[in-house]
Amino acid sequence: MRHALFLAWCYLRFHRVKTVILIAAVTLVLYVPIGLRVLVSQSARALTARADATPLVIGTRGSPLELVLDTLYFGANEPAPMRFAEVTRVASSGLAEAIPIYTRFRAGSHPIVGTSLDYFGFRRIEVAAGRQLATLGECVLGANVAATTGLGPGDYVVSSPESVFDLAGAYPLRMAVVGVLARSASPDDDVIFADLKTAWVMAGMGHGHQDLTAPQAANLILERTERTVTANATVVEYNEITAENAASFHFHGDLAAYPVSAAIVVPPDQKASALLRGRYEADDETVLVVRPSTVMSSLLDTVLTVEQYVLAGAALVGVATLGIATLVFGLSLRLRRRERETLVRIGGSRARVATVMAAEIVGVLAVSALATAVLTMLTSAYGATMVRAWIRS
């Protein structure tokens, strides 16, 4: 057998271009339906698990799917902001806890999620290195962010400016990394968490600057009244919150009007959940309450329908490709007829000659099956991560 395999290997190596094309074609035919099935089923499992673990989400009325994708998976399409008052409204109703989520900002490709400490308890995320958020201007990294950036406690992360041409807009904030979260195999691994107020500082709603009541700031003052002080543009505004300047940071205006992207609502039981949803059903209500499991179930139904169409298409392409591959193998055998006759004339045994001829086909199919298995394993290992990245992009 080893001699037949050797001859087959020589043949496949000599005709390497044909061999690679055949292997690629057969691998694709095998992998597309299998890989798609694995990808859909893994993604469905991951998406459903997170949705099922999130009782309710509230946000500004609009697309329930966008609201859920942003709140649970930190997608790139941030929904219209909701007033922070809606978060306190839920909390003050006594029917549920509300955990604010503010996803407007990013640091490079990683979303920055402004939230409260309740989020970590709700998701049962532990700190693997360093410590949890404690003061303004700190952040903790998801496990994948730490792994890909190489950052850890003691390092710094700078939020990305939204637009370099928007001089009045949000300025980058340099945040101290104080901890890295334990891996949770969820979208939480791929984001940077900061306190909600830190996110508001990024939005320009809170800021710190030189003390204008100090004598040395006198030459910066343009106008001083009982309630307001107007300074010129040379006042130094801080882009990092440190122990020295933390006291100078303050927020202007009514916190209730500050923005959040959404809030995760955690009622203690079904009754509280039903009562709460009932309160948001009025036609003039500007806030939407959704059950993530229902929204994701609807999305997955659509995905499964699309999958069926894709599988049907893949099956047709597969039949055509296998037909062409069969034709190629058949033509190859015909082209090798003279070689076969030579082997017979020299005295090659019937079994060896047949094995040499068949080994080309078996070799291509075996390598294709192996490649398909490897691709399927990679899909199985990284499929859910890829889907999460796709949702975030």
Binding site: H3, F6, T342, L343, R345, I346, S349
Partner: protein, 241 residues
């Protein structure tokens, strides 16, 4: 009854292809051991068929084909293949080398396609030695498409002689070669056959080469030996030199 010292002994041979048309009979033909025999005649009279019958590639409808003392026609297919690879070396006009194998692997090919031969280090050494003797020892790693016609035929000869056959059957081995190369290839073939006392049976159209052979079997003299009235078969006449 087998003739003394005949390596090939054909008696009352009758052969026709199943598709019909061609048929020949040979009443009696013996080829002596260690002889160099040329088979000549016009195209289509059965020269290659004769070689195939001797090699056991074809089986006669009737008659005896005894080669190396073995009744080849009586063997089954597997046994005939083993007989062929052990006792017969075949050299082809078109060389019939496998383009995807190196020169060395082409030479070793018989050992890879039959369980009757065992490939080991000694065989590899012998292959290299024979290749050196035939002047292609420095081209063992090349593929046939990187060789000249003459070099390819020498690879074909190496492949045929490596198992140490008792008889070499060459089907127009110089048919595709230029005159200079033709002489060198024939020199190689004759020298090897003489040194190893191997019987050489060569089909050729080149009458200028006939002086080099001990004996000539001419298929042109149809009917001289055995064809009866009404027969469409061919039978060769022969002349010893």
């Amino acid at each position: 009854m087998a003739r003394v010292d005949a390596i090939v002994d054909l008696e009352r041979l009758d052969f026709g292809y199943r598709e019909g048309g061609f048929r020949f009979r040979i009443p009696s033909l013996a080829i002596a051991r260690r002889s160099a025999v040329a088979v000549i005649g016009p195209s289509g009279v059965g020269k290659t068929t004769l070689l195939h019958l001797i090699a056991g590639i074809l089986v006669p409808d009737r008659g005896l084909v005894r080669v190396c003392g073995i009744d080849v026609a009586a063997l089954g297919d597997a046994a005939r293949r083993s007989f062929r690879i052990e006792h017969v070396g075949l050299v082809f006009q078109e060389f019939e080398l496998l383009d995807y194998l190196s020169v060395l692997d082409n030479i070793l090919l018989p050992y890879r396609i039959s369980p009757a031969l065992r490939l080991d280090a000694a065989v590899r050494d012998r292959a290299r030695r024979i290749a050196d003797e035939l002047g292609i020892g420095d081209k063992l790693g090349r593929h046939p498409d990187c060789l000249s016609q003459g070099e390819r035929q020498r690879v074909g000869i190496c492949r045929a002689v490596l198992p140490g056959p008792d008889i070499l059957l060459a089907d127009e081995p110089t048919g595709n070669l230029d005159p200079g190369t033709k002489e060198r290839v024939l020199d190689t073939l004759f020298a090897y056959a003489a040194r190893t006392e191997t019987t050489l049976v060569t089909v050729t159209h080149d009458h200028a080469l006939l002086d080099r052979f001990d004996r000539i079997i001419d298929f042109q003299d149809i009917g001289a030996a055995a064809a009866k009235p009404g027969d469409t078969g061919h039978a060769p006449a022969e002349s010893a030199r």
